[in-house]
């Protein structure tokens, strides 16, 4: 498979506070993350809130500049004015749409920014609205006249109209009612099948991730814990953190989970990450070496495609 996106040793440090007689603090939101996404592939970014998954998504979308490392797109099309062929879908469908614009204008905005003439982009907007299951007359309405699920469809239409090669979807389902979630999830799935678009799918919902993704990357405190294909990760999780995450998913009828897999305590502050392996404060397997040495990302025993950053990986 050809790589569409290559992230190489990405760091994002965010300055916090500072001011009169106070030193500036640096929050390591993302630390030394390297990842690739192939054409048409869906990579899920998984982690607790504060793990840096949204920040990483913003870097890919060009909304935030990384402090170190490189982001490379191997676009198959000539790039227009250096812009990456990326679009975004946000979590909150209410703040994602400008309340003062009609839906047709909202959806057509990426084309407007490319300089497509207005008649042409209006026709295209109606066409794309149809693809996401909305009637043509919705183009003339305002966002407040739509429900949360419909708004998310509009946001998806806006992302589609620019014919991106990749869509960064930042928790696109978590603000929706459960009954709506599956509809939107199926829509995202259909789009993937029809258009061959790659997704960077940011989520904390492992059920959704299992349904949609090809590969999964697990983040903790801005660091990559594990990267593997979906099946490897869900069937034979290698990193203790991944194991704990999977164990935390509520299940019915599968018996009690093993005690040691329950995550102890709180996530440490990203302003003062623990030494060595950042997970050692909560890890059931932690030894001395974990406090001193940061484990490299390396293949799990017997599974060369499953990378895991742990001294004692399974």
């Amino acid at each position: 498979m050809t790589e569409l996106l290559k992230l190489d040793h990405i760091n994002v440090d965010i300055p916090i506070g500072g001011g009169f007689m106070k030193p500036k603090l640096w929050l390591q939101a993302v630390n030394d993350v390297s990842l690739t996404v192939a054409k048409g592939e869906t990579l899920a970014l998984v982690g607790e809130s504060g793990s840096g998954k949204s920040t990483l998504g913003f870097v890919v979308a060009g909304l935030r500049k990384q402090t170190a490392g490189t982001v490379t797109f191997n676009s198959s099309r000539p790039s227009v004015d250096g812009k990456a062929p990326v679009q975004v879908i946000f979590q909150d469908p209410f703040s994602a749409l400008d309340p003062r614009m009609v839906v047709g204008d909202i959806v057509a905005e990426p084309l407007r920014l490319k300089g497509v003439p207005s008649g042409k982009r209006a026709a295209r907007a109606v066409e794309v609205l149809g693809q996401v299951g909305l009637p043509p007359e919705s183009a003339r309405r305002y966002p407040h006249q739509f429900s949360g699920g419909q708004r998310q469809r509009i946001a998806i239409a806006r992302a589609l109209i620019a014919e991106p090669e990749m869509i960064v979807a930042d928790e696109p389902l978590s603000a929706l009612d459960v009954s709506i979630q599956s509809q939107v999830l199926n829509l995202l799935d259909d789009i993937k099948q029809q258009h061959g678009i790659s997704y960077l799918f940011i989520s904390h919902d492992l059920g959704v991730v299992r349904h949609l993704s090809d590969r999964v990357a697990v983040l903790y405190l801005g660091r990559l814990m594990e990267v593997a294909s979906r099946d490897d990760l869900f069937e034979t999780p290698s990193h203790p953190y991944t194991q704990a995450l999977l164990a935390a998913v509520p299940r019915i009828g599968k018996g009690r989970r093993k005690k040691e897999q329950i995550l102890k305590g709180e996530m440490p502050s990203p302003l003062a990450p623990p030494s060595g392996c950042v997970f050692h404060t909560r890890c059931p397997k932690a030894q001395d070496i974990c406090r001193k040495e940061r484990p490299p990302l390396s293949p799990a025993p017997g599974r060369p495609a499953q990378l895991s950053a742990c001294h004692f990986k399974d």
Binding site: G17, G19, F20, M21
Partner: protein, 317 residues
């Protein structure tokens, strides 16, 4: 808190310095120059002596040099001589500050209870008829030109009815305290009416918010009388942010004082500033304006500090 205070004080000093330079430049743009104004109408003056005088007083120097000289002597306590009042600037401003302080303190003492009362009454039933009347009153207060209110009150109470004097200070020195207050009635009335409108609107909004809060509901649920709820619980909490409003209103109150003092012929700060600018008295205008600015700045600084100190919920960055 200490760090916050120090940082705010340092900032204030810096702002005052910048303001002094700005005012210095601005005042330099008034017509003429000090030497010309001083010697105006002296026929024996040749252009040469004018130039010598200018050199003597340093008027021909570039503005930075002049500002530097002024700043140095100002910091040594020498603020120059007023060409309108023929006295040192400090001697003019001293009594003027006292006069204005009297006017403003009296106004605040009357305005605050009125504003609290009206605000509380209006807030009890938002949209009711008392609320409408109070809000009409507040609108009138912010819409009335102070100078016109003064004129009308003088026409009615001094000219037609002859009840109250049209001047804000007794003509002769050594008047009794009662006499002084008698003269202050009209000026304070005008200023209070001007000042109270924004305060009422503020108290009302703040009271409505407090009356809808959970702790007031609890107080009501306990069966306390409405008066106790309003007076003991709601008003108190509504008052904390009022400190800020009072301080922020100070600048506009001072502007009002200038107009009132001018019309009622009271030698306060406002009238002194007005006279100094009308008669192009550079020294007096500069120091008078700077003083007014410093007082306004300090009052807003104090308000911020008091606010932070009174309200435990405010965490300082």
């Amino acid at each position: 808190m200490l760090r916050y205070t120090i940082s705010r004080l340092l900032q204030a000093v810096l702002v005052i310095l910048v303001m002094s330079l700005l005012l210095f430049m601005l005042i330099g743009l008034m017509p003429g120059d000090p030497v010309e104004n001083m010697l105006e109408g002296n026929p024996s003056l040749t252009p040469e002596t004018m130039a010598q005088m200018r050199a003597l007083y340093g008027v021909d120097q570039p503005i930075w040099t002049r500002y530097g000289h002024w700043l140095v002597s100002a910091l040594h306590g020498d603020l120059g001589y007023s060409s309108v009042y023929f006295r040192p600037v400090m001697d003019v401003l001293g009594p003027a500050v006292v006069q204005t302080a009297k006017l403003l303190v009296l106004t605040e003492l009357i305005s605050i209870p009125i504003a609290m009362l009206l605000g509380a009454i209006a807030a009890r039933k938002p949209g009711g008829w008392t609320d409408s009347v109070v809000s009409l009153f507040a609108f009138a207060s912010i819409s009335l030109p102070g100078f016109w209110t003064s004129l009308i009150l003088i026409i009615v109470f001094s000219v037609k009815l002859g009840w109250l004097p049209a001047s804000g200070t007794p003509l002769l020195g050594g008047a009794s305290l009662g006499e002084q207050f008698y003269h202050l009635v009209l000026p304070v009335t005008v200023l209070t009416f001007f000042h109270v409108g924004p305060l009422v609107r503020y108290v009302r909004a703040s009271m409505i918010e407090t009356l809808n809060s959970d702790f007031v509901r609890t107080a009501r649920a306990k069966g306390l009388s409405e008066t106790t709820v309003v007076m003991r619980h709601a008003l108190r909490n509504a008052l904390i942010p009022m400190v800020t409003v009072l301080a922020l209103g100070f600048g506009s109150l001072f502007s009002g004082a200038l107009v009132v003092e001018t019309i009622f012929g009271m030698l306060g700060m406002g009238k002194v500033i007005y006279d100094s600018i009308s008669n192009i008295d550079f020294n007096l205008a500069l120091v008078g304006l700077l003083l007014a600015t410093i007082v306004t700045l300090l009052s807003s600084l104090l308000a911020d500090l008091a606010y932070a100190w009174l309200d435990p919920r405010i965490t300082l960055k």
